[in-house]
Point group: C4
Chain length 221, copies 4
Amino acid sequence: MTQNDLSKRLFAEWFGTLALVATVVGSGIMAETLANNNVALALLGNTIATGAILVVLITMLGPVSGAHFNPAVSAAFALKGALSGRLAVFYIICQIAGGICGTLLAHWMFAAPLLQDATHLRSGIHQYGSEWVATFGLLMVIFGGIRHRPDAVAWMVGLYITAAYWFTASTSFANPAVTIARSLTDSFSGIYYGRYAVFYSGANAGCLACLSSCWLVICTD
Amino acid sequence: MTQNDLSKRLFAEWFGTLALVATVVGSGIMAETLANNNVALALLGNTIATGAILVVLITMLGPVSGAHFNPAVSAAFALKGALSGRLAVFYIICQIAGGICGTLLAHWMFAAPLLQDATHLRSGIHQYGSEWVATFGLLMVIFGGIRHRPDAVAWMVGLYITAAYWFTASTSFANPAVTIARSLTDSFSGIYYGRYAVFYSGANAGCLACLSSCWLVICTD
Amino acid sequence: MTQNDLSKRLFAEWFGTLALVATVVGSGIMAETLANNNVALALLGNTIATGAILVVLITMLGPVSGAHFNPAVSAAFALKGALSGRLAVFYIICQIAGGICGTLLAHWMFAAPLLQDATHLRSGIHQYGSEWVATFGLLMVIFGGIRHRPDAVAWMVGLYITAAYWFTASTSFANPAVTIARSLTDSFSGIYYGRYAVFYSGANAGCLACLSSCWLVICTD
Amino acid sequence: MTQNDLSKRLFAEWFGTLALVATVVGSGIMAETLANNNVALALLGNTIATGAILVVLITMLGPVSGAHFNPAVSAAFALKGALSGRLAVFYIICQIAGGICGTLLAHWMFAAPLLQDATHLRSGIHQYGSEWVATFGLLMVIFGGIRHRPDAVAWMVGLYITAAYWFTASTSFANPAVTIARSLTDSFSGIYYGRYAVFYSGANAGCLACLSSCWLVICTD
């Protein structure tokens, strides 16, 4: 890989995560503002915008960097051996930075304070379990899709997240970089972890470990 | 078929039905909780999540097991001779088990009692007739799709169920394994059959018989 | 064309129009019943179901009969010389019969009186003009799609009708067979033409005449 | 390029922008009329109709004229050297004329006064910034899509605008021709710029300049 190639990949990861988080946070603000306190309607607007932008970003940036936009995905690729450890670290740094920039951009567009403390508590074992399920499912979809229908992965991820916003109690972040970015907004999509944030990270780590073995059995042979 | 191949197929049927039911039940709970008693809005959230996950699951697991997730589909394939009777029985057992696990998972994620008695009565000749129509249509779509556009079947089934949630009076289960799983939840998507459950099964059996002949005429020649 | 081939085509036109109308009318009843008098929400449910089933039906039955389901489309094909006049007449009879059966089926599934007199008045020059626009646009989409992207026609028609439900004042029937079928229901999707029904037919005929010349200029050369 | 070819291209740009604006304005009127003052619901109807018609129009007219429907897009193509300056000017004139005709058509279909003064003020630095973001994103999507997945551009633009209606504070016009057309309606989708319209144009020009350099770095090499 040339230096130029590396810059482009990292730019794509930064830009894609920025655009994803700006959409998640921005559409959350828009939807909550307009929905007259009907949370289902706000979630619907949030869902449609997020699902749509995911398809667009993965289609557009997939050929550049793989379009991970998600430390869990980059870590899984590294575990699988499809991404060097060093590159995975670079990817994850760009994703976290991009996510934070995305929150800032959404706040700026809606004329809100740039940095906010999330107070929307989403804690407890069931929330963590939901996240585990959502992340596990996302990795299944990505690796299953790459194996069987690589041209369909962008649609599959967009549709999976569309469903996961509704079927998990936590509205499915399934993405540590997005989670960090969402802890910086006090709007519809904000997250406050409370005291168990460490456990949450543990759950995600466990998820990855479990996945890597499970996935070896199912998706490959 | 090797032993390894068989395990993978049965795992795919179990896992796919689990994920489908977890989405149907989970998104039903989420939608009903948030929708301020507007049932159309709750059904919309339920519909979008179900349609989206169907496209994902069929695209991902179709190449492994055929992605039936539905005893009516497996039975129709067996009648057509495309699946051995013994394998169809294994498929159906995995689908029913997966469906029940899906309800349990959704209840756990939303911190609800794991097993519940459905009280949402959906009974009477019109409801059974709606189910007949929905199941018949689903089989038409699957067999017509496999014949003319096999690459489009995942989308076709997802979109068909999206429509069928709205055009049938019963919100279209069209799937005995999902029906059993939904009789174990007392949430938005729960089903209580009442005294005519036997008749209902009869209607489904009749549907299959009728279909197998009708389908011989239309889809093949 | 063999006799067997003809029967299959006519069956496909009858069945497809039946399924389309059953979805339009059935989802209209479902949506209106659940939407707590919020007509935009009812129209949203009606739109999503109709758009979804159109993609499914055209993908499934397009290879059999061309999937017209619409006398305006069959007439345009006949004007273009792509369908014999005799076959076009047979198509149109099957479409009208299928549409009426679709209304009956929807009413039966929802336990409503089988035949009803529509009282939902949609009359006046602006409504007729909207219909003209909707029908003209539909024919543009079909002929433009067949010329440039024949594999995408099913999606294009489904998405076009999704948009046309909202951008025309008449919620876009654009289909004489569906219009007749909808004049037999007094539910959400019912139509009462009033005294100007004759003029309406004239507008549709004019549309076809205008289209056939316009389309010669644009889509072919 | 023959004279006949040129006419067809210009007709396609005029017609496509007309249909796009008629959908944006018409579905806005329909949605606002029906939504019982729930603005999120009205925006949802507006979003779905706009996203759907964009996919249809770009699929249908892309092979004819490139399906720009947007002076910003034509200008970017001209900057890139993929469109002659003279043709770009013709395109832009047809787009502006088509947009105005689209507003007139929508008003006529809904029996509203044909020309109206917009009073829906969308002004201030955050609104202009949102427009900048939306236009920049749109150009990224178009050029990234053309480079990597030309067959997917129609879907990508439709989905991008679906998301951008929600993630920007300005509901994302991202299109000077559509903006002019929307300043002529006082309905849901109307725009009144107030005193800073000049600055707004400046922002768009800056966007194009910035884009052309940025895009040289990322999308080409």
